[in-house]
């Protein structure tokens, strides 16, 4: 029951968060260029933050250097080379699997 209430409250709050920008900034065409530019940077900044937190840290501590870092580097390299989501995922997952099998 506790879990049900927590998930439900989190769902309501999260939906309000999802609505916030769309409705407060409804007519985006009239926003000043500076604000529009800042908004265009949201996706790269937020995603980099999640990547850094998940990749370099593990429960708030530095992750030991190994398969995670090397496979991520392979993925970044392929992403810049091919500019393709699909190839990046295939290369990153493939490299990670190979490194785990190799015992890293």
């Amino acid at each position: 029951m506790t879990a049900f209430i927590v998930f439900t409250l989190a769902a309501i709050g999260t939906y309000l968060i999802r609505l916030s920008g769309i409705f407060f900034l409804g007519d985006g065409e009239k926003l000043p260029p500076r604000v529009r530019k800042a908004l265009s940077l949201v996706a790269p900044a937020a995603m980099a933050a999640i990547i850094a937190n998940a990749l370099f840290l593990d429960g708030g501590q530095w992750r030991d250097f190994g398969a995670w870092h090397i496979a991520a580097l392979v993925a970044v390299g392929v992403a810049l080379w091919k500019r393709s989501m699909g190839w990046t995922l295939v290369a990153g997952a493939g490299a990670f699997a190979a490194l785990l099998i190799a015992g890293l």
Partner: protein
């Protein structure tokens, strides 16, 4: 995932015209490479739910209502540690605060949509679909075709996430722990973000954000992620627009954060 479009034909299907189906399908194809990752991550979340002793239906329920994997895991972790309900909810909302930023960046993209479309597309918003929508929106100047495209990006992606968690809850831990499935999280975000890093401000935003997250790693409740994203946006917006050449340094280069 089906391998061909839901045969539009000449007549409307379910009251929806062939052009709309095609635009929807184009959106689904655009996000399809991320679906396997979403399913695997869903399997892991579903298994986690049953592992901590919660009923199996709670997994698809959480995925269909909260629809944000990282926060759902944070809630399960909080419940497992007997955290007060308010702390569990607050932690999830702090982690999901980044969606307010996506919502803001989608405001201009959604501006011409009817209200009910905004309500539905907001509900289906995820990191992945928001990013694909923002990056692809300039190619869809017509608001009607654009909203069908974005529905095609968002809807099926959420559907496979829910299906994946349901399957995970039923099957239990089918994925061995040794596979370190958590790597899916950075990998999916690298796949979405890095190919789209085409301007210097975007590269700077990613780099600054990475550095701040690592410097502030000891902050509780994932606040380092939130502050890192905000500082990345704020500082990088001072950098003048100029196309980055394709040889730009990858902002997520693992060596980039070692100095902090």
């Amino acid at each position: 995932m089906t391998t061909r479009p839901p045969s539009p034909g000449k007549k409307p299907v379910a009251g929806i015209g062939p052009q709309q189906w095609r635009d929807f399908w184009t959106g689904t194809v655009a996000i399809a490479p991320l679906m396997p990752g979403s399913i695997v991550f869903g399997l892991a979340f579903g298994a986690l739910i049953t592992e901590v002793g919660l009923p199996a239906w709670m997994a698809p329920y959480a995925s269909a209502t909260v629809t944000a994997g990282a926060s759902q895991i944070a809630i399960v972790e909080a419940l497992r540690q007997n955290a007060p309900m308010l702390i569990a909810v607050a932690t999830a909302l702090v982690i999901n605060a980044r969606l307010a930023l996506y919502s803001a960046s989608l405001a201009p993209v959604f501006a011409a949509f009817p209200r009910r479309w905004k309500l539905i597309l907001a509900y289906l918003m995820t990191d992945q679909s928001a990013a694909v929508s923002v990056f692809e929106a300039p190619r869809w100047p017509d608001p009607v075709r654009r909203r069908w495209f974005i529905l095609g990006v968002s809807g099926p992606f959420v559907t496979v996430w829910i299906a994946g968690t349901a399957a995970g809850a039923l099957l239990g831990p089918v994925i061995p722990e040794a596979w370190q499935i958590g790597f899916i999280v950075p990998l999916m975000f690298i796949a979405v973000m890095v190919p789209a890093l085409r301007t210097w401000p975007a590269v700077a935003a990613a780099g600054i954000s990475t550095a701040v997250v690592l410097i502030l790693k000891d902050l509780p409740y994932g606040l380092n992620v939130l502050i890192g994203a905000l500082l990345g946006i704020a500082l990088a917006s001072f950098i003048p627009d100029k196309k980055a050449d394709s040889g730009a340094e990858p902002a997520t280069d693992p060596t980039g954060g070692e100095g902090s």
